[in-house]
Symmetry: C2
Subunit: 372 residues, 2 copies
Amino acid sequence: MIRTVSTPRKHPPERRRPGTVSIRDVALRAGVSIATVSRAVNRIPTVDSELASRVWKAIDEVGYLPNTQARALVSGRSRLLGLIVSEITNPFFPELVQEFETLATSQGYEVLIGSTNYDPARTESLMRRLLQRNVDGVAVMTFGVEEDLVKKLVEREFPLVFVDAGPNLPNIHVLKVDYGEGIRQGVQHLAALGHRSIAFISGPLAQRSPKVRLDAFLKSMDELGIHVPAEHQVEGTHTMEGGITAMEQLLALDKLPTAVMCSNDMTAIGALHALYRTPLKVPQDISIVGFDDIHLAQFMLPPLTTVQMSCRSLAVAAIEALRAGIEPDHPKARQKEWLISTRLVVRQSSTFPRGSLPAMSHSAQQRHGPAR
Amino acid sequence: MIRTVSTPRKHPPERRRPGTVSIRDVALRAGVSIATVSRAVNRIPTVDSELASRVWKAIDEVGYLPNTQARALVSGRSRLLGLIVSEITNPFFPELVQEFETLATSQGYEVLIGSTNYDPARTESLMRRLLQRNVDGVAVMTFGVEEDLVKKLVEREFPLVFVDAGPNLPNIHVLKVDYGEGIRQGVQHLAALGHRSIAFISGPLAQRSPKVRLDAFLKSMDELGIHVPAEHQVEGTHTMEGGITAMEQLLALDKLPTAVMCSNDMTAIGALHALYRTPLKVPQDISIVGFDDIHLAQFMLPPLTTVQMSCRSLAVAAIEALRAGIEPDHPKARQKEWLISTRLVVRQSSTFPRGSLPAMSHSAQQRHGPAR
DNA sequence: ATGAAAGCGCTAACAC
DNA sequence: GTGTTAGCGCTTTCAT
């Protein structure tokens, strides 16, 4: 072996955690080179089977675990995915996180999760940290990411997926949730039951997704030629508290709407709770429709009619889109838009408006009957 | 420079993502060595200030972000913390995750989260993956981790924190939640109101924490000399569904208990929902007490009386314990147990048992009055 | 104060 | 088929 002339180091720093085992220990034990160990571990077929089994035996004996960081360093791929959500405590997100994590894991990726808590500064530092960790891609399930940063990343062709059109940039991977269709179904469901006075409790309108949902609602109402007075559009916060407050605002109105559509389920749940405190009954006096179909929705009293946005398909699409961006010859490498469909789930929080009850068939009676 | 004789590589593989900037680019741009850049970045005070500012300027110009993986590789510390929870969709955990993440982040750590879904195989693979990722320590907020694995890690002095005595091993960092005190307070609250027939809906008893909670309940009852008949101990699942089912079991009994204490809030919420479907009123006909004090608890109808276990203190203690294990000269490096206190939060789901109502003072009337 | 270079654990090109 | 070695990006020693 030819060495450089520099004198050997005097105090080789002992940085390894005691008990940590490296590829060299395995090689030594198995009496092969580290390259052979590496090949065996990576299941390169050309390795002699006798050697391979010696290697595996040694691996077992010394308790070797390949160091992912080192692998990442040399391969340039970390097999880490970033997942940015706005608020992990909002019940919609854990369900998404769970799906995302399960899928990622099964495909050999790990997930680094961050919640932004709607704080742009936090979002940016989060993004930076994810990049420093060399994540292979990031799914951004929130808003308020600075356009500048995103633009830079897009230029570097860094794999990035947004839900609902993210920043208005070309060449971005976007999961387009079909709010139009989902919310239209909700509106039409209510309209079909005879509602004409339908209020909408939105999310925080400074954010894109809540805005899109509100627009979808207004458009659906417009299609039916129903006017929505300003006082029937209340801004919530996509939280239970927001739903309570917003519903209280509606309750203070001279003329109550006969139905309320909510921008997400937590808002709808808040609305239900505000109503529990009044003599009004859901759905007999007022119908409530949510959006998301979180797990909790079916356990509400009455069980919540809502528009389902499948976490599963969201997660599947997000990961597929990310991998398409990561792996150069992924079949869908050029696809930029991924459509997420939604569907109405009719439960018992919606029925005919009081007074406009049509001659009731027995089945309708059952279907939309009182829940308690 | 003295080089070895080997011929130069023919196809230096291009693994770097286009746009990625390394320390060398900065050094080149600033006209200094990479060592100087490294020193500047790490704010080593001996760097000449003129050079340092040149370096920072270059960093800014090329958009350099230090690669954490490489740093971790050389320093032996990844500044990554593993957080294992049983089920991210259980509302208690997101609150914990949020606290944990915020704290970790503010201390320069990133968090790798995994949910086990109560699957031991999944737990083990998760643990292995965390180790491969070189996490500096792992907080295990769940159960069913194989003793063997844990034992190995403990031998290697790998920083590990468990909630509630984890495996029965010496020298393990444990967050001891003071169930005894919390549950005793709950029981005494009910007993003080006059309840003598108190049922308990436990969590899955195969797990340690639910078991400990049940034992604490039985002990508290025993202290008061109250016998708990077998049919008043129902096993739930720590989920809403489990609470519903368990409550239905209790409702089928000839003689109903006058109060039900639940092993966690989700169970209590399930119990409330099962009761909503009956003519029984909470708390007039039956009192319900939960455990955890999740965010949702205060929004129940009636707002849930529960024992608060603070996520914040849990997260604080977990991180402090981990850092104590990670950093050799941490002040609390030798501390093994961390006590987490709990406290009763009286809301409106508990009152006097029907019939045993003492001559009621006006204030008691208000305090424990009907919630709707 | 600064730079050269060793080396963290691993993969992959190359030589044999 | 197997071994040797360069090098991923960085920190840290050692020499200057």
